[in-house]
Subunit: 326 residues, 2 copies
């Protein structure tokens, strides 16, 4: 039985068997380091599972699976530099270890290496696959820019619609794109490809809203980091944007004030925001929003005419994400 | 008669007719700015001329011409950030105007946009074309890394061979790649494609060695900037590396010392290096090296079995580069 565990193991073996080191060493060392840091490997797993779902053979999408993960890691590498994040998966980020210039250039090279993997994997629908990959890449960049734009905007300037559009581009389209590419390699029909893409979008939105939720309500012991960081960073996530809709007038004024860099001491600000969230019953509302996305995702997967046994890894992945505590 | 002027005008018209602005504005404004700064537009001109040389129709490579220039400008954008260069073509660079993060992300997006142009241009040999583009991109990154490596190396650690390998990757392969891609769109035979590629490599090496020469011997009034900057920056260019071969033992020791960050005052160091260059007759030797590359380039072009009238723009471009004073 090819379940989620089987595909995760597949992906681990593919990466273990791949050589990323090359000359000049100074350029490829950070690339090898980044690609071997691990992570959830969700995107290559989705790509392989989608390929098999439509009757593809596993090796038929092997290189594309490496390509999509290489691209994803490239975006993390440049994001960490832009966000000045010191750690990634508990290890020092590339820019802290090798400096800004190496982070820029190694990242650029990883983007090109992702293309090398895609170009290496033959398919009668290669142009369509490459176009999907590239348009996805452009959307990820646009999503990152929108996220950066939100930093200088006030809470009332960002709407739930704008925020959802941003996380769709920054996170969801890459999950959806990985699935679509896997399906295209298998030669799936257009209708099924687009339904699977929709499945990925809902999965991605659920994933990102969960991220926002965990920042506020995660169990610190399991979550592995201090909660409330988004509040400290004044981030206009799904939480405050949804809370606004539940607030009465005075609560809304308080929330605006707490997110406008007023003088409230940081930890006091976290406490006051969280107690406001509780007062308006935010958590139940967010759980509902996440659940809606998972339900929509299930509906997409149900409607695809494929062997139920082949849907298993995607259902398991969904369940794993649903229950995640970090 | 389709001469160089004709193709340069073509390229200008193509860029003038292209829309680069899109949403989010903060991402695309620096891209539009960069692509409209002008420049010599050598790469798209080479691509179009190579296409017509082998019987291609002009519109057959139009989008690829935009793609290759978009890629080139992406590398300049990130290089300027890494080198902290305040000006490009006399205008403020993107990172000085919009900040480091915008420069990183807009650059990444330009790389993807270059792909969009290539993927938009149909060809029966598309996979070969895309592979050529991508392998060229990887070499450019490797060349840039090698250039950065040289910064921390001493003069005796860098050899002429290593230096030539670096400028081949950093500069020459992109000119050669542009020509090859143009030829592939026209459906040229493999042998002619590779001869044209060689032509591009020699042209690129000549171009880069000229750059090194102009830094030392340019006419400041025409060159537009102060000469000797490479000496001030301790750059191990073709000049000191060739000079080493002409030096006697004591001159060699002096040159090593002047390039090893000794205490000589900066302008005095420039004067002493230049007078050492003159003492060993460096200029004639460099002129000879440049000439050798141009002669090799001409030999390649001569050997290609194509209508002489169609070779005209490439010959004219070579002549223009030969006579350049800046």
């Amino acid at each position: 039985m090819k379940d989620l565990k089987y595909y995760l193991k597949q992906v681990e073996e593919i990466f273990a068997g791949e050589q990323f080191m090359a000359e000049p060493r100074e350029l490829y060392e950070p690339i090898d380091y980044t690609l071997r840091l691990g992570g959830k490997r969700i995107r290559p797993t989705l790509l392989l599972a989608a390929n098999v779902l439509f009757g593809g053979k596993e090796e038929q999408a092997r290189d594309a699976a490496i390509g999509i993960e290489t691209f994803h890691n490239f975006t993390l590498l440049h994001d960490d530099l832009m966000d000045r994040s010191p750690l990634r998966r508990g290890q020092p980020t590339v820019y802290t270890k090798w400096g800004d210039n190496t982070a820029i250039l190694s990242g650029d090279t990883m983007f090109a290496l992702a293309w090398r993997y895609f170009l290496r994997q033959p398919s009668p629908r290669l142009q369509e696959i490459l176009q999907c990959f590239n348009e996805t890449a452009i959307e990820v960049c646009e999503g990152q820019q929108k996220d950066m734009n939100f930093e200088t905007m006030t809470l009332d300037e960002v709407s739930i619609d704008k925020y959802t559009d941003m996380i769709r581009q920054k996170t969801a389209v890459l999950l959806a794109g990985a699935l679509k590419i896997g399906a295209l390699y298998a030669g799936a029909a257009d209708k099924e490809v687009s339904t699977l893409y929709e499945f990925g979008i809902h999965l991605g939105l659920a994933f990102q809203i969960q991220d926002d939720l965990l920042d506020g309500y995660g169990d610190t012991a399991v979550f592995g980091k201090k909660t409330g960081q988004d509040i400290r960073d004044n981030k206009k996530t799904f939480l405050p944007l949804t809370a606004l809709k539940l607030c009465n007038e005075s609560q809304r004024a308080e929330l605006y004030s707490l997110f406008s860099g007023d003088n409230t001491e940081e930890e006091e600000r976290v406490r006051r925001v969280m107690s406001l969230y509780d007062a308006v019953g935010l958590r139940a509302k967010i759980d509902e929003a996440i659940d809606n996305e998972f339900v929509a995702a299930v509906r997409c997967l149900d409607s695809i005419p494929a062997d139920e046994a082949l849907k298993l890894p995607l259902r398991e992945l969904m369940e794993t994400l649903k229950g995640r505590k970090k």
